[in-house]
């Protein structure tokens, strides 16, 4: 019995170990400072890096957070404070469906909603797609974290003559913050590696651009393009960038977990 369970546990880890191992083998040779500092160069020229893609990905994540975080937090607070209303039940259902929607579909939706009216691919469209993935994750995490707060905490604040707003922002919010932060960090890890929703929104860009209304480069897009190319130098950079992506996601998840663990110890 124990052996079977242990085998299952080990098999769960096996894919990650294999992925990390293979990526390290293929990617480490291409992992050098120039990867982050230099722009792509035409095929045949030596050197070059993916600085535009790393900056683009960072900007896309920040813009997606700007769009998705406030709405997600407010939606989550509403779901927690008014769990039974028709609005809440609907929002919760929609959030769960959205969470299960293939990300390419979200990309198509962002293309129809942002790219077509603007008549161009843009960082904004990419950020909108990523924000749509972010939104249900943040709303549901916020709801869960606020709901596990003891109801007496809310009562105590209201009994002091606090308004609902003050109660939410000064007492419940701060108490739930470590859990919400964990959820947000894990959600960032999720969108940082998304490729499909960016294909026809952010589109990618071989040049340096941080303009919100221009097409923008992103690490997953660049990996996709370079990996499909027949050039050995590009492929090596794609492996290195993929390794960086996995390490970033792994690092973010670890940070998220340790925030949650710290909170667990204190309570």
């Amino acid at each position: 019995m124990t052996a079977v369970l242990a085998a299952g546990a080990v098999l769960t880890m096996l894919p990650l170990v294999l992925v990390l191992g293979y990526l390290s083998w293929k990617g480490l040779p291409g992992l050098r400072p120039t990867l982050f500092l230099e722009l792509p160069v035409p095929v045949g020229e030596p050197g070059g890096g993916l600085a535009n893609a790393f900056a683009g990905s960072a900007l896309l994540v920040v813009m997606a957070l700007g769009l998705g975080l406030p709405v997600g937090l407010l939606a989550g607070l509403h779901l927690a404070e008014r769990p039974g209303t028709r609005l809440s039940v609907t929002v919760r259902y929609v959030a769960d469906v959205l969470n299960g929607t293939p990300s390419i579909v979200i990309g198509i939706a962002a293309w129809a909603a942002v790219v077509r009216p603007m008549q161009r691919f843009s960082a904004l469209a990419g950020a909108a797609a990523l924000a749509t993935i972010l939104l249900p994750l943040i709303a549901r995490t916020t709801e869960e974290m606020v709901r596990i707060m003891p109801p007496s905490l809310r009562e105590a604040a209201l009994a002091l003559g606090y308004t609902e707003w003050r109660t939410a922002l000064r007492v419940i919010g701060p108490a739930a913050l470590p859990g919400i932060t964990t959820g947000v960090v894990v959600a960032i890890a999720r969108i940082a590696g998304e490729t499909a929703p960016l294909l026809f929104t952010a589109f990618g860009n071989p040049f340096w651009s941080l303009a919100p209304t221009e097409p923008i480069a992103a690490v997953p897009l660049q990996v996709y393009t370079y990996a499909l190319s027949p050039y050995e130098t590009w492929q090596r950079q794609a492996w290195a960038a993929a390794l960086v992506l996995v390490l970033t996601v792994g690092g973010l998840t670890f940070v998220g977990r340790s925030i949650a663990a710290k909170r667990g110890r204190r309570a």
């Binding site: 009562e155 105590a156 002091l160 913050l177």
Partner: protein, 262 residues
């Protein structure tokens, strides 16, 4: 209007309250005099907590709750059209069954939270420190926490946390203190300390104490009110309540016999 913190008279007049169209408290009229400590007793589900929560307008925070009647604080109806629930809750403080220190604030800030809700006119600086110290003194907690005011309240014992909540309620300037089974979650020694504190506080503050513990009611209260099935059966000085109850149902309850519903 009297000074904040000055003892006041609180009076419930024909209070009926409940949830979802069902009355839990029916036509209760009860007067809490200056400097009295009134124990509200009765079996589980008799409506004593609901009655208490009507006295500072906390009952209406629940879904589908209703309240009728008047609650007069020194003659002014807390349910008057011009009155607000926030003002009612600042004038009539409340302490819950579970100790509820705010976990992300320091011990000092927990007490200061009692007056932080007042907005722009709230005390600051040394004035705020003075109020915090006075509230902690009155809650008999000052000497235990004076050298760790910046620490987390979660480092305190359950009984200390409950006294911190009492200090927080006093810091609002509340003229009446409502307590809903404040010792139910505490060990006997901490409970005894709270009882002693309530006894001392009642000289300066009007106190209403909901309890299922008759011994506690007998030990600390000046007056006792008995609720059954949402109705007030009997209220009066505690000594008379326990030794010569007027109503047969009260006598049955205080002697531990089954009580026939009203």
């Amino acid at each position: 209007m009297p000074e904040p913190g000055a003892p006041s008279t609180l009076e419930a007049v024909g209070v009926t309250a409940g949830y979802g169209g069902v009355d839990v408290v029916r036509e209760v009229s009860l007067r809490f005099d200056v400097g009295s400590l009134t124990a509200v007793v009765g079996p589980s589900g008799c409506g004593k907590s609901t009655l208490l929560r009507c006295l500072n307008r906390m009952h209406e925070t629940l879904d589908r709750a209703h309240v009728r009647g008047a609650v007069r604080l020194d003659g002014e109806d807390l349910y008057a059209p011009t009155a607000t629930p926030l003002a009612a809750r600042r004038a009539v403080g409340m302490v819950l069954q579970q100790p509820t220190p705010f976990p992300t604030m320091s011990i000092r800030d927990n007490v200061a939270a009692g007056f932080a809700g007042r907005g722009g006119s709230r005390p600051r600086g040394t004035e705020a420190d003075g109020i915090v110290e006075e509230a902690l003194q009155r809650a008999a907690l000052w000497h235990e926490v004076r050298d760790r005011l910046g620490r987390s309240p979660l480092s305190l014992s359950g009984g200390q946390q409950q006294r911190l909540c009492i200090a927080r309620a006093l810091a609002t300037g509340a003229r009446v203190l409502l307590l809903d089974e404040p010792t139910a979650a505490l060990d006997p020694r901490s409970a005894a300390a709270i009882e002693e504190l309530l006894y001392d506080l009642s000289r300066r503050t009007t106190i209403v104490l909901v309890t299922h513990n008759l011994q506690q009611a007998a030990r600390v209260s000046t007056d006792t009110a008995f609720l059954l099935d949402g109705r007030l059966v009997e209220a009066g000085p505690t000594s008379a309540f326990f030794t010569s109850p007027r109503d047969a149902r009260t006598e049955a309850y205080v002697t531990g016999r089954p009580v026939a519903p009203a």
